[in-house]
Symmetry: C2
Subunit: 533 residues, 2 copies
């Protein structure tokens, strides 16, 4: 905990007393209770009294002296208090973690490129007003920058709003892009479960006026491809539509003004049981118990095309224009997903609501399933790893004339995925290389640093990945050990005799075989041997 300036002043008084060899005045006015006082300056002056009574000008002078001493002491004191950590909810990535992260990114980027996406980048912060009014109740989690003069700025909360700002600003009406970057939320971190305040989002979005549900279906295909490719175990993609939700609210008797807040309650169904959600709707949000019960019946429904057909026949829902539109689109979506052959992992789920304000149509969320243990039959969700939907109004909020650009997209959250893969690597004791070095340039005898530098320079210039130990006279054993530890497969050994003969001894670290290679053939030999690895 930080010390208040009051407590600091008191500490310094103690230090100054000690330094000056003054006696501590523990008897007159300085007691533990003083430490919790709201204002300590009068107290302090009282206890730190010079030999006689002070007049106001002198008091000011004494305070100034104290403050000056405080400033001088500041540096020393800072050293002792120093906390060596990353900010709450954030972490560093070690080389080993980076190697795992790179694998995940590669799989995701390959998928985005396979679907013909371009890539863009935006600044880590936006004008504060750009983010205002886009995230509903979650806006309180936005990180603001300090006002140091100039514009008011906030760290981005997601990549979707900056994307919409980018489209409006550049008058782009048609693009398929991905964007992989960190976003920031002042949430309560739960880092063991992969919840951070700084975390990556991998977003793929399609903007433009197109025939219905074709881009939407591609987004779901992408989630399916990525989660299959990463081999994270079984998963399920839940699908719903904001228009079906709104239509459902209407026919259940929810007043228009309560749609968004009741939607927020429904969004909690993946974490808390229905009874609790109902209590929130009725108790906190003033919905009638009857309306809540009617919602309760709908939100337990999930299925496939058959359920969609059934709801299209539902006497109440089919009368609602919005719900009918939504159901029609979701039906078309499922037909396309059938052509893609992926409906096996997709569930139309009336309880899916998604938190953010800006969705206007289809919404979806992917969860990983995990056998809780062998005795339980139903797989258990271990949390969302991807989500997205259609947001046809967001770009229009930025356009001076309100021109809309329909958009649909998906965001892959890699932190949970990364946690799972990291645990798996730990468990398997798989050895992960953190460098790509092909060869260590070594020497068996002393005084060969210059020869090692000359050889490694040649290798670097030929594009070979090579290292040397930064020692004038390293022991051969240490050099070989370094290769074992870091997984370097080859050692190029220079020695007096080899130099005379115009050769280099090339050693295979795994087999310990050594052969002399003519210097002019060395690069080719290393390339040949490491291309098979």
């Amino acid at each position: 905990m930080e010390l208040s300036s009051c407590e600091m002043l008191q500490q310094e008084r103690r230090l100054i007393s000690q330094e000056k060899g003054l006696p501590m005045r523990s008897e007159d006015g300085w007691s533990p209770s003083t430490l919790s006082g709201q204002s300590c300056l009068p107290e302090l002056l009282h206890s730190w009294k010079p030999q006689r009574l002070l007049i106001p000008a002198e008091i000011a002078k004494e305070v100034a002296k104290l403050l000056e001493m405080k400033a001088q002491l500041g540096g020393e004191e800072g050293k002792h208090k120093f906390v060596l950590k990353t900010p709450k909810g954030t972490r560093d990535y070690s080389p080993k973690q980076m190697a795992i992260r790179e694998r995940v990114f590669t799989a995701i980027i390959n998928c985005f490129k396979r679907h013909g996406a371009e890539v863009i980048d935006t600044p880590v912060f936006e004008l504060k007003e750009t983010l205002t009014g886009k995230y509903g109740e979650d806006s309180k989690l936005i990180y603001d920058l300090k006002d140091q003069g100039g514009e008011l700025l906030s760290l981005r909360y997601d990549l979707t709003v900056p994307f919409a700002r980018y489209l409006a600003m550049n008058k782009i009406t048609n693009i398929k892009r991905y964007h992989i970057a960190k976003v920031y939320r002042r949430d309560n971190p739960a880092m063991t479960r992969g919840r951070y305040r700084e975390f990556y989002q991998c977003d793929f979005d399609i903007a433009g006026q197109f025939d219905p549900m074709i881009p939407d279906a591609e987004c779901l295909k992408i989630v399916h491809e990525i989660l299959s490719d990463l081999q994270l175990g079984d998963f399920l993609i839940k699908v719903n539509d904001r228009r079906i939700l709104d239509g459902m609210f209407a026919v259940c008797g929810v007043p228009d003004s309560k749609f968004r807040t009741i939607c927020s309650s429904v969004d909690k169904l993946d974490k808390v049981p229905w009874e609790e959600v109902k209590n929130e709707m009725v108790g906190e949000k003033g919905l009638s118990p009857e309306a809540a019960d009617r919602i309760g019946e709908y939100v337990q429904l999930h299925g496939g095309l058959d359920l969609i057909e059934q709801l299209l026949q539902d006497p109440k829902l089919s009368q609602n224009k919005l719900a009918k539109e939504g159901l029609g689109d979701v039906k078309l979506l499922f037909e396309y997903l059938t052509l893609f052959g992926i409906t096996g992992k997709i569930s139309f789920d009336l309880s899916l609501a998604r938190g953010l304000d800006y969705y206007t149509g289809v919404i979806y969320e992917a969860v990983l399933l995990q056998q809780q243990n062998d005795h339980v039959e139903d797989p258990v969700s271990v949390g969302s790893v991807a989500g997205g939907g259609r947001y046809d109004g967001l770009v229009g909020m930025f356009d001076p004339k309100g021109r809309k650009v329909p958009c649909v997209g998906v965001s892959i959250g890699i932190e949970r995925i990364f946690s799972i893969l990291e645990q798996r690597v730990e468990a398997s004791e798989e050895k992960i290389r953190t460098t790509e070095t092909q060869v260590l340039v070594a020497s068996a005898q002393k005084k060969l640093l210059e020869e090692r530098l000359k050889l490694i320079s040649e290798l670097w210039d030929a594009g070979i990945k090579a290292e040397i130990l930064y020692k004038k006279n390293p022991k051969l054993l240490n050099q070989l050990q370094y290769c074992e530890e870091t997984g370097i497969p080859l050692v190029a050994i220079v020695g007096e005799q080899e130099l005379k003969d115009g050769v280099v001894k090339l050693r295979d670290v795994a087999t310990r075989e050594e052969v002399n290679i003519r210097r002019e053939n060395l690069i080719e030999e290393i390339r040949m041997r490491t291309s098979q690895l």
Copy 2:
């Protein structure tokens, strides 16, 4: 400029007056001078007086009413003022710019990996105290986050201090790592010259206790490799040593306490002429003109090993312990650089000082040279693109016991490099592809969307990069045009007849040749044709 809440209240008063059809009270108490008043609420109430005198409770009520109206107006007003831009000193990267940026990153990362570096990542912000006291005069350029409760945070100013914090925190005494990430400086941006407030640094550092100058020489080799590889034209790497500078200051008669500030003055020599620097030293910083003149003689020296030898014989400098150590090391460094064959582009330059506080030994900076025009003989520097040096004390500042970890590193600044390459691409009219799509799945007739979706799904699952137009019945001409525009080399055309025959028509966009390929051979054929591209 933002309005103060006081000014806003006054504006709203005006708006409310207009809305209610009330007359504006410009005569009683509202004048321009009011706008600069410290507190406006009494003024405001005075001017906004209802028909009779108010009692305190009524005043409170009126204020509440005003504030409520303000809140209601807030939304509307915000809409009009909305500015569609990125924050000052920042920019978006378009797909085309990203393609160029990727090229630069690839060249740099390849070089770092060639030298056996691991990679790490750290959060975009650090605890404020982590950055405190590391950057000297530049500390004022640090972005702070707003205090929203919890820790005080700042955006990272460079990657070196977070690296040192990472080493101390994890007790790492030995690592070679790279880190590519954005850093933040509240500087005056000059974006046309590649100076931004948010910009990338590409850092390579070697930490550990090693034999002198071997890692230092590798850092310079890396700069040389990257600048050669990127083909940016001629360049020069200036080298100096902080100990030589300090020794030089000592023998010139600069008092110890002025070393750092005089060093800052010397650092300006690449931008302003000596006379101006001398004026600063003598006029602002109180150095004697004689001492300044002695410095002036040294700082115009630059050369190679011969100059180092000459200075080692310099009657004054050779008597200074620090300078002698520095000169000895720089001599060794040049010997290694000779073995690397890169001394041709390296200049020992006594005017190089580098701004940051934390350097302790060798320092260097790379500048691009450009023939100003054909009539001028001397190449002109167009600015620094890389810099670095040895900082043996920084990790110790973070270690609770002050344990030191010697470090040396280099930071490549890609913004200037990127600007140059971008201009070059613009000038050459080179067409840059922003996607990697291999094939467009098209149809010649209507009602074939389902067949297109089935085929593209097969291609995606086989790892082929493929797109379709998101139209139910796109015209063939539009589909072919899309390929021309985006550089897609192949079109796979499905048609009624082809479906019957079990083939797909594969069209080469460049040659316009079309051949029927049996469906089961299509994937292999596309792979074969696009592997040569």
